[in-house]
């Protein structure tokens, strides 16, 4: 007898254009069907969208492993498109060693050191956007604000040269598309990424990293014998894969949230110290990373459902973030909420190692806007940039009304 046969099965494809454009009805359907469900287009996968199960999977790294990939593809059966990440696609004890180095370099204390620089850059950029909005009547919240900011401050902190940074966008798009199926989005990403991969790997080399930056600090950890010199460039690659596209969309989604909730923006304008919770709530409300997978490392169970070894488990982070079992009035964007425990950065030992920097970026950009801008108005329809994993905007026309 196989108890898994009685699981609810939904005919939903998380990677169809409709569900990528508006994933929330799908998340709700999955949540309400049960704690663990099957999706017809991916019959071997188990999926969960309730906060309790997403949290449980991500916090049981012994049962639900990452080394078989954190996307749909199972690395035990299919070769990954690139050498696997030493931290994202790894399990303890290797993961523990790598994580210790990265989390020290990106710790809240280290982030305090760069705070002033990041705040000054945010203020200068918002000044330019405000001037642009006044001279041409509107700005593009993505091209003019959400994209240039992380593309400036984060590679600066890593120690990357100025030229060629747009390669980080192409590479990030590829990495996050690769966690979905082999669909058209992935095919298009793959076409574009060809020459970019060589650029990325060249920029993971020590001679291309400014002394003292985050990248160089990884090599210092190798000098100290904490990791090997062969591992160092691969850890720098993690900065270049996950450090830009994520925050760009985090900022873009926060601008989208505030533009569509003028009363919430008015609260923020009245009290700019709310910029940190306003960004945090945007992460909950519109999770940048929508999904991550784990793989059962042994026969286990989830909410009483048997999960045979080697089963892929799809966690809807964004679904957990709007689970009414966890959040009162979950579809409401409310900057007074304390959304501690949201899943936008994941959770457990693989929780985003750059989250302190991401929060800094969100906070200082929103604070700079809150102090200078009386209202953020929608100046036209937005477009979405579809990605298999990321919730991303293509364009976001906005009018910034000066304070």
């Amino acid at each position: 007898m196989n108890a898994t046969l009685t699981l609810p099965e939904l005919d939903l494809d998380p990677y169809s254009p409709e569900n990528l454009i508006d994933p929330y009805p799908m998340h709700q359907a999955v949540r309400e069907a049960g704690p663990v469900v099957r999706l017809k287009p991916y019959p071997s996968v188990l999926a969960c969208s309730r906060h309790e199960q997403v949290h449980a999977v991500l916090n049981d790294h012994a049962s639900f492993i990452s080394s078989a990939g954190v996307g749909l593809s199972n690395f035990n059966r299919e070769a990954p498109f690139r050498p696997r990440s030493l931290i994202l696609e790894a399990d303890p004890p290797q993961h523990t060693q790598m994580r210790a180095v990265l989390s020290r370099i990106l710790s809240p204390k280290a982030v305090m050191q760069i705070r002033e620089t990041f705040a000054a850059e945010a203020e200068a950029l918002v000044d330019r956007c405000l001037a642009l909005s006044q001279s041409q009547g509107q700005i593009d919240g993505i091209q003019d604000l959400a994209q240039p900011y992380p593309l400036k401050v984060f590679p600066d902190a890593v120690g990357l040269e100025d030229d060629g940074r747009e390669n980080l966008l192409v590479y990030g798009d590829m990495v996050f598309n690769s966690m979905g199926p082999r669909n058209e989005l992935l095919a298009r990403s793959t076409e574009r990424v060809g020459p970019v991969t060589a650029w990325i790997m060249a920029h993971c080399a020590r001679e291309n990293l400014r002394p003292g930056g985050f990248g160089d600090q990884i090599y210092q950890a190798a000098d100290a014998g904490e990791i090997t010199h062969e591992q160092a460039p691969m850890l720098v690659r993690s900065f270049l894969s996950a450090g830009v596209d994520t925050t760009i969309n985090g900022l873009g989604n926060a601008l989208f949230a505030l533009a569509h909730h003028p009363a919430e923006y008015a609260r923020l304008h009245a009290d700019p110290s709310l910029s940190r919770p306003a960004f945090e709530e945007a992460l909950r409300w519109e999770s940048t990373a929508q999904t991550f997978f784990r793989t059962a490392g042994r026969d286990t169970e989830l909410a009483g459902v048997p999960v045979p070894a080697d089963t892929k488990v799809l966690c809807f982070l964004a679904g957990a973030n709007r689970d009414p079992r966890k959040w009162p009035d979950p579809d409401r964007y409310d900057i007074g909420r304390r959304p501690s425990g949201h899943m936008a950065f994941g959770s457990g030992i693989h929780g985003c190692v750059g989250q302190a920097i991401a929060r800094l970026e969100g906070e200082v950009v929103l604070a700079a806007i809150a102090r200078r801008v009386k209202a953020i108005e929608v100046a036209g329809p937005h477009t979405r940039r579809l990605n298999n994993t990321l919730r991303a905007l293509g364009t976001l026309p906005l009018r910034l009304v000066p304070a």
Binding site: S107, P108, K109, S340, G346, S347, C352, A356
Partner: protein
């Protein structure tokens, strides 16, 4: 159901009923304790659920792991020998009556 006795930086106190099995941070935030921020939600990534464990209880807790020790370098209020991240304190019945002092600031 373990109980936690909380002593805030201003000297005020309260008792919190905690569900067994969760962390002290989860019990404190579920009770709406404003002296705990817990920005990262319990991954030992932010140092904003910092507490001082009462001297009488320090030895009764399992020692912190390396990731917690690393993060304790990042607390907003002074780090003391009794400093812990409350997200890493797993509550069981043996911790019934645990006394936690809250620091002045978390951020």
């Amino acid at each position: 159901m373990p109980k936690i006795h909380v002593i805030r930086a201003d000297g005020s106190t309260r008792d919190i009923e905690a569900g067994a099995g969760g962390s002290a941070m989860q019990a404190l935030t579920a009770a709406g304790e404003s002296g705990i921020v817990a920005e990262c939600g319990g991954s030992a990534m932010c140092a904003t659920c910092h507490v001082y464990v009462d001297q009488a209880w320090v030895e009764r807790l399992p020692a912190p792991l390396s990731n917690e020790l690393e993060m304790l370098e990042c607390t907003a209020s002074e780090r003391r020998p009794t400093s812990r991240l409350s997200c890493q304190i797993k509550l069981g019945d043996e911790l019934d009556g645990l006394v936690l002092h809250l620091p002045e600031a978390q951020q």
